[in-house]
């Protein structure tokens, strides 16, 4: 079973998490930026920063994950300077 490191709750089963999509900024006032935000999400083959949520505790956090290898490079709470080391494990 795949696992993910929540910055608050530590290593948990990935079934406890909800994927909230790639991290991207937007401005509701700017039509072009809004279109970009809604439809043109990042889709790299490589590292990507994205939002995740630990459902039981409603902890929303950021993760950097490689989209080809599916390895999570780090996870951290938004606004914190020090990203917490994280990793996925199969076992």
């Amino acid at each position: 079973m795949k696992r993910l490191t929540c910055p608050v709750n530590g290593i948990r089963d990935i079934a406890e998490f909800q994927y909230l999509g790639p991290f991207r900024s937007t401005s509701p006032e700017d039509a072009a930026a809004l279109t970009e935000h809604l439809f043109y999400a990042p889709n790299p083959i490589g590292p990507m920063i994205e939002w995740w949520r630990h459902r039981p505790t409603n902890t929303v956090f950021l993760a950097e994950r490689h989209t080809a290898t599916d390895h999570v490079l780090r996870t951290w709470l938004p606004g914190t300077a020090e990203p917490q080391e994280g990793k996925t494990q199969n076992g």
Binding site: M1, K2, I14, A15, Y19, G21, P22, T35, L38, F39, Y40, A41, N43, I45, M48, E50, T67, A68, T69, D70
Partner: protein
């Protein structure tokens, strides 16, 4: 005929033939270059060469012929969509499958056995009524049926009366069917190659050079070529290929996982699909039960299967057909689907004058192989986007003119 066959069988001197010629040397330039040697790219090459008389065409395939999503899809052919432009388009796709074996002189094993989509809630039944009325209006064979008719259509189904997934009724789409995916690609490739289309396998596009709003050169790992017109039909790599040309596509990639069981005697003569259980099943002509439809829950560019998804698919399949519990799995796989925000494809022109896209086919591309090939070829041959493709234009996202088919794209979402 039997005597001819017998005498052919007894002859010692058989003439060997190849359906697909070996990859030739790459020339310096072609009138049309098609990036992607899957079903869509090959169908486009077929229509360009056989219908529009284009002589100089090269199909560039990074791996082997039809080895991407053409090989990994679950071969559902249907037209039970929700919006008028979609139904019109996919209906023609189904019709082209009906005559495909005859048109190509190549047996694609098309079997029009009907698709049964199950409703486990009143909300689903209501959405089925909408889809059925839209389909009838557009002239497809589709109707909402009650639980008793579902039982008659597929007597082996676990109706789960009184249970969590009780089957309340279904959407019966008599036009639905299935075909042999490899044969579709090979049939198009063979007939295109006969007309001089060059199919370059193991030829990866590494760069696309543009100048003054046109593509000028395509750089591959086997040399650089010039192209009059370029069609992109690169499946899971559509986003990356478009980036090479300096274009951005509204695409996110998710793997779609499927699997097949060992061959069984024929018992399932419809396609069965359940949106609630995120599972659909079809029995192939070889007797294998194809179990499909699990998308990974987050973006990924990997074709590695996961135990979670396989377990999930097995759970759905066993709920619908509990007697499959001792059946062994023969193969399992994943394909990278290029998903669009509105679950409709992107076809037609781009901001580059001679560059056409056939992308965003996500989990619904196989059924459209002939019809997208037909109209993409028309784009290239005439230089204009046909009316039928206009609603699928890339710029619809900037105009907020979306074509929402999320509810009609099978069971994976």
């Amino acid at each position: 005929m039997p005597f001819a066959l017998l005498s052919y069988g007894l002859t010692k001197r058989h003439k060997s033939f190849e359906d697909i010629p070996k990859t030739p040397e790459l020339k310096r330039s072609y009138d049309v270059v098609i990036i992607g040697g899957g079903g869509h790219g090959l169908a486009t090459a077929y229509y360009l060469s056989n219908v529009h008389g284009v002589k100089s065409i090269a199909v560039l395939e990074k791996g082997y012929l039809a080895g991407g999503n053409t090989a990994r899809n679950t071969t559902t052919i249907r037209s039970n969509y929700l919006t008028q432009p979609s139904i019109r388009f996919y209906k023609e796709g189904v019709e082209l499958y009906q005559s495909m074996s005859r048109d190509l002189g190549f047996n694609v094993m098309f079997s029009q056995r009907g698709q049964l989509t199950l409703a486990h809630s009143e909300a689903t039944m209501r959405s089925f009524h909408l889809r059925a009325e839209m389909g009838k209006h557009m002239g497809t064979r589709i109707e909402v049926v009650d639980a008793k008719t579902v039982q008659e259509l597929s007597p082996h189904l676990n109706m789960d009366f009184g249970g969590q997934h009780e089957i309340l009724g279904g959407l019966w789409h008599a036009d639905g069917g299935t075909a042999r995916h490899d044969a579709v690609a090979w049939g198009y490739a063979k007939r295109a190659a006969e007309k001089g289309v060059e199919i370059h396998q193991r030829t990866a596009v590494t760069a696309i050079r543009t100048a003054k709003g046109r593509v000028t050169e395509i750089v591959t790992d086997r040399g650089t070529i010039q192209a009059g017109q370029v069609v992109q039909a690169a499946g899971g790599l559509n986003g990356q290929i478009a980036e090479l040309a300096g274009l951005r596509l509204p695409i996110r990639c998710f793997p779609l996982q499927a699997m097949v069981t060992q061959p069984l005697k024929p018992f399932l003569d419809t396609l069965v699909s359940s949106a609630n259980l995120h599972t659909y099943l079809v029995q192939s002509s070889r007797g294998e039960i194809v179990i499909g439809g699990g998308s990974d829950p987050y973006q990924l560019a990997s074709t590695r299967s996961t135990f979670d998804q396989k377990e999930h698919l097995a759970h759905g399949a066993l709920h619908l057909f509990p007697f499959l519990h001792n059946v062994r799995l023969l193969r399992q796989w994943a394909g990278i689907t290029d998903m669009t925000p509105d679950y409709s494809p992107i076809m037609g022109a781009t901001e580059l004058a001679n560059y056409w896209v056939d992308a965003g086919w996500g989990t619904w591309g196989f059924k459209a192989t002939p019809v997208s090939g037909k109209y993409m070829a028309e784009c290239v041959a005439t230089g204009r986007v046909p009316d039928v493709l206009a609603p699928f234009a890339l710029d619809r996202f900037d105009r907020f003119a979306l074509l929402n088919e999320m509810g009609a794209t099978a069971a994976s979402h």
